[in-house]
């Protein structure tokens, strides 16, 4: 049915705030309308030619019989989806469960530093690499995790060498990252990282008291060692070779500015304001995972405020989650972030090789296994190959069921192009791969983030330009 002089293109709407309705199209282009304008466009009575032109420019409506909007939407959709065939980009090697920290929120069933039976063997590592190189993806990111991966540094070293050797036959782009607490950096390790172009990723939860109360180690000097490690890597390897992530706890919620200033003081240019996830030791601890979403959103908002302020003063700090979402909002590119994508990033985006050779669909899937839930174990490097794993029921069922284009409420949600599927989270917290989105804290949290980003971009041009710039990187 054509309404007057325009035709609707596939759109979704969301009641954004008291005054306005958000419209989005299949590829996430958006526009705000007042309630009256929205009704007028829906019932065909709108006569505001300027408004109608702006809606046409964003491919929310078209003139009857136009063909170009559909052509362009198809091109944009194809661009967004073009990385789909390039599974699997991220390969996580859990080279040991040993760790000398005892972080309160740890999602790994960590083992004391002496227990080397919790190390990955070279044989397991080799089989895992063989599997990884079967991925069609032209780019492999190999990330070493643990425990503390540097406690099994010899294996890390071996894997890097072996991966480079195997790559001679594949010519893929290889990136190596070590997720480490930096407490055990030695000259030898630094030299190796420098020579092989390895990236280091560490945890920095905030100011010393906050960080140390979360991340305990003998000597209570985790923060001091982390900061020293960051400075050392920046100096020896270069400022872009070390990045930090924070983990949010109850104690962080009141201190976003201090946390961010701590990053800025170290010359770190990205802060990832993350939520705490409900897995591993964290669930077993009282108050570990149960803080409510609205308090976290207030924390996020305060943090984002502060980061934008820093930018106004000329400090180019980026909030990582907002940048990922901005890329989905303002471009047709896929940021390649496995935790916010549909189809879900499990298996397709990432595979996890545990120290014992078991292969998991995601980091969180492995954490569930440590609590006795093996839903997301896809096989073992000894007896499964890439094809078996990617085509297994264990993987395909959660992928298919959680697809946002068909999941209830997701499929009509205006934020769907920005969001993703998280079957692991929903399985862990609600008992099925889809979850009930009206009661999902994943949904509530993400909608809060989308809302704050869009509102800020709408209401302030400095912020709009800043988010546009973040999106284009």
């Amino acid at each position: 049915m054509t309404q007057g002089s325009w035709q609707m293109l596939p759109i979704r709407f969301h009641r954004f705030d008291d005054d306005s309705i958000l419209l989005t199209n299949l590829v996430g282009e958006h526009f705000f309308l007042s309630e009256d304008e929205f009704l007028a466009v829906m019932d065909g009575t709108c006569s505001d030619q300027v408004l109608l032109a702006r809606l046409r420019a964003r491919h929310l409506i078209q003139l009857p019989g136009e063909r170009i909007p559909v052509e362009l939407l198809a091109v944009k959709l194809r661009t967004r989806l073009r990385r789909l065939p390039d599974s699997t980009g991220l390969h996580i090697f859990v080279v040991t469960l040993r760790c000398e920290h005892t972080c309160r929120y740890c999602q790994v069933s960590r083992q004391p530093s002496a227990k080397s039976e919790y190390d990955m063997s070279q044989d397991t590592a080799r089989r895992a690499l063989d599997l990884a190189f079967r991925s069609p993806s032209p780019h492999l990111k190999i990330e070493f995790q643990g425990g503390e991966p540097l406690l099994n540094f010899p294996l890390v070293r071996w894997i890097v060498a072996e991966a480079n050797r195997l790559n001679q036959a594949h010519a893929k782009r290889l990136t190596f990252v070590i997720a480490t607490n930096l407490a055990l950096l030695s000259t030898e390790i630094l030299g190796f990282c420098a020579a092989e172009g390895i990236y280091l990723s560490t945890s920095l939860d905030g100011p010393a008291d906050l960080h140390n109360s979360n991340r305990r180690r003998p000597g209570q000097d985790s923060w001091e060692r982390t900061v020293a490690g960051i400075r050392l890597v920046q100096e020896r390897l270069g400022p872009d070779r070390v990045s930090a992530l924070m983990t949010t706890t109850e104690a962080s919620l009141g201190r976003p500015r201090e946390i961010i200033d701590g990053y800025a003081d170290l010359g770190l240019r990205q802060v990832f304001l993350r939520p705490i996830s409900p897995y591993g030791f964290a669930l077993r601890q009282r108050g570990g995972a149960g803080y409510d979403v609205s308090r976290w959103l207030a924390f996020y908002d305060a943090g984002l405020d502060h980061i934008i302020d820093l930018n106004r003063k000329g400090v180019p700090m980026v909030e990582t989650y907002a940048a990922i979402i901005a890329k989905k909002m303002f471009t047709n590119e896929d940021p390649g972030y496995v935790d916010l994508t549909s189809p879900a990033g499990i298996g397709l985006g990432a595979l996890v090789y545990n120290y014992d050779g078991d292969v998991y669909a995601s980091d969180e899937g492995r954490m569930l296994a440590e609590m006795g839930d093996h839903t997301f174990r896809l096989g073992n490097v000894r007896n499964s190959d890439y094809r078996d794993i990617l085509l297994s029921e264990e993987l395909l069922t959660p992928l298919q069921q959680s697809l946002t284009l068909s999941a209830p409420m997701c499929n009509t949600c205006a934020f769907e192009p920005y969001c993703g599927a998280d079957p692991v989270f929903h399985h862990a917290t609600m008992g099925d791969f889809v979850g009930h989105k009206a009661m999902s804290s994943f949904c509530l949290r993400n909608m809060g983030v989308f809302t704050t980003i869009l509102r800020r971009a709408r209401d302030d041009s400095f912020t709009r330009n800043l988010f546009w710039r973040w999106a284009q990187q």
Binding site: R12, L73, A74, M409
Partner: protein
């Protein structure tokens, strides 16, 4: 809206103007606030609302359900009207043709 004996609130909808699909989707969307039982009685859908929070305001809840039904109805209408174009966009996105002017697009 009426109160029946067992503390449920009741609102009704005209079956001629409100679709069951929209009603069910609306019930799903407000599940965090209440559970909704839908029955048919003559030419009305009779919805009994069971609030999760016993202190919730009955008028608010009823209003919420009604607005949600209106929105879901609109969503279904948009989906029906734009379904063919949506399918065409997906088909084009996944098709092999390189040049923009292909068979499907010719008038």
């Amino acid at each position: 809206m009426t109160h029946s004996d067992d503390q449920a609130l009741e609102i009704t909808f005209d079956t001629a103007t409100v679709g069951l699909d929209a009603l069910q989707r609306a019930a799903y969307a407000v599940a965090h606030l209440m559970s909704v039982d839908i029955a048919v009685s003559g030419d009305r859908y009779v919805c009994r609302l069971f609030p999760r929070d016993p202190a919730a305001d009955a008028d608010e809840l009823a209003h919420r359900v009604r607005s949600e039904v209106i929105d879901q109805t609109l969503r279904l209408r948009i989906a029906a009207e734009t379904g063919p174009l949506r399918n065409l966009i997906f088909a084009l996105a996944f098709s092999q043709t390189g040049l923009a002017d292909d068979e499907a697009a010719k008038p």
